[in-house]
């Protein structure tokens, strides 16, 4: 690791993007939920991905009613809940991952209700203490984010908002103003899930966003193959792979490691 955990939160994410940019590529930031296929195996998968050389993580907090997720992540997080996953266990998992030596930036990604039930302010403080660098809440648009934004700002934690192909200029400006760390760019009009092809209009969509903000742009939804990874690496500051890795991780730790290694290799060539 060229950067150390002395840098945390937004600064750690900035260092991650700078490093990837210096290497002429995007940062690869996989998503994986805690508790799938079991609690221990989810930690093993994340550790394997860290060793494979990914740049950062979205650590998923399972929720019973994930309206932005497709069948793969729905099924995985449902199993995670049956395995006893909870906000508390996710925070414990984060602490354990840091103890095992994972240096990369980690963001927690979870739907609003479990975080609200935990207590938004307490959640931000505990997440920070556990080693999280930021927070992504897919059902929390900037308009509703006040309950998290104050404590995130005080703690230097990134509070990431999303933009989608449907977002107009007004909403792009709103997200750019409110977001810290990066903007999560939803590649397509839809829910999460592996897809055969990336959307055709991706380049013009990213260009439209670039015109309006200097925030790092991290692309997610549908990125599933090494070819996709290579393609988006040239286009954005970072990218997220979710469903494809979740499926691989459900098979075995090795399968997840292999896919991640192949993607790490693809974006470095």
């Amino acid at each position: 690791m060229t950067y150390r955990r002395e840098i945390q939160g937004i600064a750690a994410l900035a260092a991650m993007f700078a490093r990837a940019r210096a290497q002429g590529r995007a940062a690869f930031m996989p998503y994986f939920p805690i508790g799938y296929p079991t609690h221990e195996e989810s930690l093993a998968v994340i550790q394997a991905l860290a060793t494979a050389g990914v740049d950062g993580f979205e650590i998923g907090i399972p929720f019973s009613d994930p309206i932005a997720d497709g069948p793969t992540i729905q099924a995985a997080t449902q199993i995670a809940l049956e395995n006893g996953a909870s906000v508390r266990r996710c925070l414990e998992a984060l602490r354990a991952l840091r103890r095992r030596g994972i240096q990369q930036p980690m963001l927690l990604m979870g739907y609003a209700n479990p975080l609200v039930a935990y207590g938004p302010e307490r959640f931000v403080l505990d997440a920070r203490a556990a080693g999280a660098d930021g927070l992504i809440v897919p059902d929390l648009p900037p308009e509703e984010a006040a309950m998290f934004s104050g404590s995130c700002a005080r703690e230097g934690m990134a509070l990431v908002f999303m933009l989608a192909p449907t977002s107009d200029d007004k909403r792009i400006a709103l997200a750019a103003e409110a977001a810290s760390g990066f903007i999560y760019v939803v590649s397509l009009t839809g829910i999460t899930g592996a897809r055969k092809d990336l959307p055709a209009n991706l380049t013009s969509f990213i260009a439209r966003l670039r015109q309006q903000t200097d925030m790092p742009l991290v692309l997610g939804f549908g990125i599933s193959t090494t070819a996709h990874a290579k393609q988006v690496s040239a286009l954005t500051d970072g990218f997220i792979v979710g469903s494809a890795l979740v499926r691989a991780g459900g098979e075995s730790v090795d399968a997840a490691r292999e896919l991640a290694s192949a993607m790490v290799k693809a974006i470095r060539n």
Binding site: S86, V116, D139, T166
Partner: protein
Amino acid sequence: MIESYIRRQVTDLPDAQGYFGEFGGRFVPETIMPALDELEAAYAEALADPQFHHELSHLQRTYTGRPTPISHAKRLSEALGGAQIYLKREDLAHTGAHKINNALGQGLLAKRMGKRRIIAETGAGQHGVGTATAMALLGLDCHVYMGSVDIRRQQPNVFRMKLLGAEVIPVESGSRTLKDAINEAMRDWVTHVETTFYLLGSALGPHPYPMMVRDFQSVIGFEAREQILEAAGRLPDACIACVGGGSNAIGMFHAFRDDHDTELIGVEAGGRGIESREHAARFADLDISRPGILHGTRSYVMQNSDGQIMETHSVSAGLDYPSVGPEHAHLRQLERAYYTLATDEEALAAFQTLSKTEGIIPALESAHALAEAIKRAPTMPRDSLLLVNLSGRGDKDLDTVIGILGE
């Protein structure tokens, strides 16, 4: 021309952010935020257009059969020996339930917006049938999400929707009931948002739905208020309505909001009793129900200590939902409305009582409201008035009731 009633606002709420006090808002993925803005603007524009009101009131009168009457339940009142019970007969609206009021309103709006693909969710199937009916009338393409558990217990409505030309899509995720049907409809909307209108069936979901559904249902209360003034010469001492998501109740309460001598009483599904934890009484069981966020709105939500949504139970599929419309949470907080519950058993008893005393077979949902009237009436003077919203008829529930009571 009769008026559509939507124009007669009695409150400034929700505010510009879609909040009723601390409840409401818009907690949805970014992809559909622009669609909510578009919907809100289109609705405001429709409200300002006399043509929209004319079209809606024309359909209410010539298609739905409005105004629906109120009936004085004389034999029931006599048997109880107290308050005079009046029933607002939404069971006599076309399709047999109040859901058609909202389906036609939103359907006309969808048409104005040029959206031809309509999606909806349904629990008991009444909103699905209302939507399928309105879409057949308006010539729009209709897809209804329904949990596979509900499909099993509401077969007649599934058949009706198909007959009306709708596609019924079974939902196999989660508890396979209304909550999961809404999840799936929202996922569909996120995916097809540019071409699709989501015709949400209750006074919940992200702004502007709770406001819009209330407005389209407020015809119930505005009509009933005029009718009871004419029939009984004064306003009722209380209005009683069942509360699942809460659209029939908010539609009834809205017109009486400023009538401070009229108590507003919402009746939740008590299921097998509060102690059993098998119920949908969001306002009664505060150990497991707290303000939270579900389906895009902040309201009371039945959830475990980790914020995971709990499964609910009611004999009535239409009340079997873990959250409640945000305006009800607000009215409760203001103490303008009072919320209580009726158990499965009490609702089934009321179902039979009304059938025998008045020749009206009520929906199991509406039977919850009747159960509360049956409890209260004997404690009240004979010249007092209870107005009960009979939100639907019970034909759809015969299989369920036969299964429980035997033939």
